[in-house]
């Protein structure tokens, strides 16, 4: 049952990745793309957690954790760049 659920969930997330990719390329505004990238990262976090369940291992957990933290920094940096051009001032 869990295996089936995982398959469904992985399919959903895969599809979600495609959708975010669509928005990423479509834009139209730069903010849209940043948002899409941020969503992409969050989807990947979900994916990593699902993979952890699938493979019954916890060693990937830190990757998800780090991605959560680092994805945020990237998103903020891109946005800050759009706002000011200078991300550290």
């Amino acid at each position: 049952m869990i295996a089936g659920a995982l398959t469904i969930a992985l399919g959903c997330v895969s599809l979600a990745l495609v959708l975010t990719l669509y928005r990423l390329f479509k834009g139209p505004s730069a903010a849209d793309r940043i948002l899409a990238l941020d969503t992409l990262v969050i989807n990947v976090i979900a994916l990593i957690v699902l993979l952890g369940i699938l493979e019954e291992t916890m060693v990937y957990f830190e990757a998800a954790l780090l991605l959560a933290m680092v994805g945020f920094v990237g998103t903020v940096a891109y946005a800050k760049f759009l706002l000011r051009g200078d991300i550290v001032e």
Binding site: L10, L21, L24, V41, A63, G74, V76, V88
Partner: protein
Amino acid sequence: MYLVWLTLLPFIGAMLMPLVRAQGRSLQTLVAAGPAVIGLVMLGTIAPQVMAGEVPALRAAWVPALGLDVSLRVDALGWLFAALILGIGLLIIAYTRFYLSPKDDFARFLALLLLFQGAMLGIALSGNVLLLLIFWELTSLSSFLLIGFKNDKAEGRQGARMALAVTGGGGLALIGGLVLLGQIAGSYELADILARGAMIQASPLYPAALVLILLGCFTKSAQFPFHFWLPHAMAAPTPVSAYLHSATMVKAGVFLLARLWPALAGSELWFALVATTGLVTMVVAAAIALHRHDLKAILAYSTVSHLGLLTMLLGFGTPAAAQVAIFHLINHALFKAALFMNAGIVDHETGTRDIRLLGGLAGLMPITATLGTVAAASMAGLPPFGGFLSKELMLEEVWHTPFLGTQGLLLPASVVIGASLSVAYSLRYLYGLYFGTRPDSFPQAPHDPGIGLWLPPALLVAGTVLVGLFPQTLTKGLVSAAAAATTGGTAPLFKPMLWHGLTPALAMSVIAVAFGTMALWQHRPLQKLWDSLALPDAKMLFERGLAGTIAIARALTDAVHNGALQRQLALLFAAAIALGAWGMAAVPFAAGTRPTLPAPPLAIIAWLMLLAGVIAVCLVQAQRFLSLIYISIIGVVVSLAFVYLSAPDLALTQISVEVVTVLLLLLALNLLPKQPAALSGTGRRLRDAAIGVVGGGAIGFAAYAVMTRAPLDPISAYHWANSKSGGGGTNVVNVTLVDFRAFDTFGEIIVLGIAALAIFALLQPASRGPSGQRLRAWLPDMPRSPEYHPMMFAVAARLLLPLASMIGIYIFLRGHNLPGGGFIAGLVFSIAMLMQYMASGYEWSTQRRRIDEHLMIGLGVLIAAVTGLGSLPFGAPLFTSWFDYFTLPLVGEFELTSAMAFDIGVALTVVGAVMLALKELSHVAQRAEKDEAHDDAPMDIDPAKLRAAPAAAEDVP
């Protein structure tokens, strides 16, 4: 041992010259004359045994691997040459004492002259052809300096360069030739080579060796067509011309021909090359000499002509001819050196060397005139002087030597023409100078010089007269011995006499004198004819050739090294593809048999994302911000691949490096153009895409080929097995990094540290110079929001710093056993810190910094190094790790490892390096905006403060 001293003496003298620089010229002359005097005495003492056929020799190993030995030997040929060098050298030094003007650097001149003397002596005495080569090249070098002594004049410089180019080039050919000769003979020892003539001439390499050696000899001896450099070398002071370009250096080529005669001479090729070159040179140079007006040019070309004569004689390949050559060598040295000094005196006294401006000097300077007349007569081959004797013998040889297989009149006729021209220019010299009409005035009032100037040539003239009168007594022993040494056998009968009877030689001689006189008589029309010939000027050809060569070199260099990075990279990529393909194609390839993993749909989607990301980045690369967003896709997909494919450490590292790189690129992009114009056309893009596709295909193929074959017992099995038991950790990747291959990691953090230092060094001066101007004039190229530090972000960053630090410490501590480690921890902490910089600004964050980043890098590297060294006191090699398990009350069991200390060093370096690099980079833009009024508040909007401020203001009154 005295041979060594003999060779070294001039060099020692040369080295002494700077020491006596401050002393008077006389003392300098004495010092400079010393080596020649001592050397001559030495030669004198060994003369009897040498003339008796003994060959004193000395041999010591120098470079055994090469066969280059310090091997010196004196046979009669060498003795003769050495004596000429030292004897004439002595006279030249004496002459120079009075010749050089006070403003010339006398000591330097003498030092160079002695250097040259030593080099020449070395040629004469070398018993090893490689050693001979060394001295040979030294003569080129020292003569370069001597010719260029008057280096403020263009002719001096050009002449020196030309001489160096021609003789240097010939010298290189000679190197080739002699090395080849040595290889053929199996030894570089002269004695061995001379003994193996038959073997040498039988070798298939003989022609190559011969041609190369002849190139060396002919260039040195200014043989046609390399004759052109010698007259231009006459830009040198006259003593140099007299010494180098008449008596010694130019004879080095002839000497070498004689020296190697037993090994090389006798073949048809030898005859064809050497005799022909000599003959042509003799005639052509004599013709040129007749039509020159500069005294030294006349003498120079006459020298070339006489060298041609010597070359021709050696080329005949018969012992008798060789013997005549030796005899003429002596005679020529005597009269030609005398004539050069004579011309020098005339120049010195009258201020001109143009024969057309001179005449009738006999009355004004009788001693000079007498000496000049006698020497010129000897040069013309008039009896009863030495020159006559050798000329007669030469004509004799010519008469019965078949030329190019025929016993015709071609050779004698040509030689007679040459001899006639020789008579003509000799007579022109003495007539034009000392007789003829005296011009109305000279640039200076001429009179005989002091004895210092005329005595040396007088001695030489005396020599030529005495040789002419008493040839048997004076020269027979020497010439015979030298000829024997030259030919390596016994010398033929040597019977120089003023009267041989009515021989063909005499007839030829008479014809030559008659023709010569007629030519002088009809000189004007001849000169006109000559001038109208517009013969190619060899010097101009040379210069044009050189200029052409340089132009070609420049065109080649500019075309190849055009400074285009794109070309460099394209070539590098192409070379990599080609070499990789070559390596693969060279042997049959077997496809792998390892079972493959099925790809889940998710993997295919990730793959498509990657593909889309790559294409997107390539397509929008000119829209830089966009391309930066797109490249993040790749990072995410690669991280995901690492997760899926069992590489958690890689995923962690990739994820954290990724974001720092993005920050870095964004910081840089701020000051760079955001959307510049395209520079490449479609053709270029297609070409680059093609290279890319081929390269990508190649590496993809290689990756697939490796992945699909079973691994061949990799060494990592040991790492797996020993990770826990030997390294104290279960995360094998981490144990590999901090233990098995800690040395790699040590290098890696050093790289990171240096990168940061280099970035710091690079950016420090950015506010100066053109960069500073540009920064100060910089305008933001995009509309900017007025908000510097959004409040929510600033608040979140404050909370995240301790949280992330905690996570960093956790990742650090677990790294040895689970994914993590110092590097990732360092990055996590750095990212948290960078968040502060982004959220609250550079100033605010820098003020709160505790440790200087340089110090952090230094400490990090030092800690890692000290950890590595820590094992030494325990008798273990560097970087040997240690771990143990401890139990503490409350805490329980825990593990301590030296690798942890090492990892602390790693983490410190990472934090220091990342912070230093990004801080400095962000600081560049800070400088561009320095004076913009904005406070260093950590957030723009702080309602608490905004509310407090008016309240405080109200309190004040």
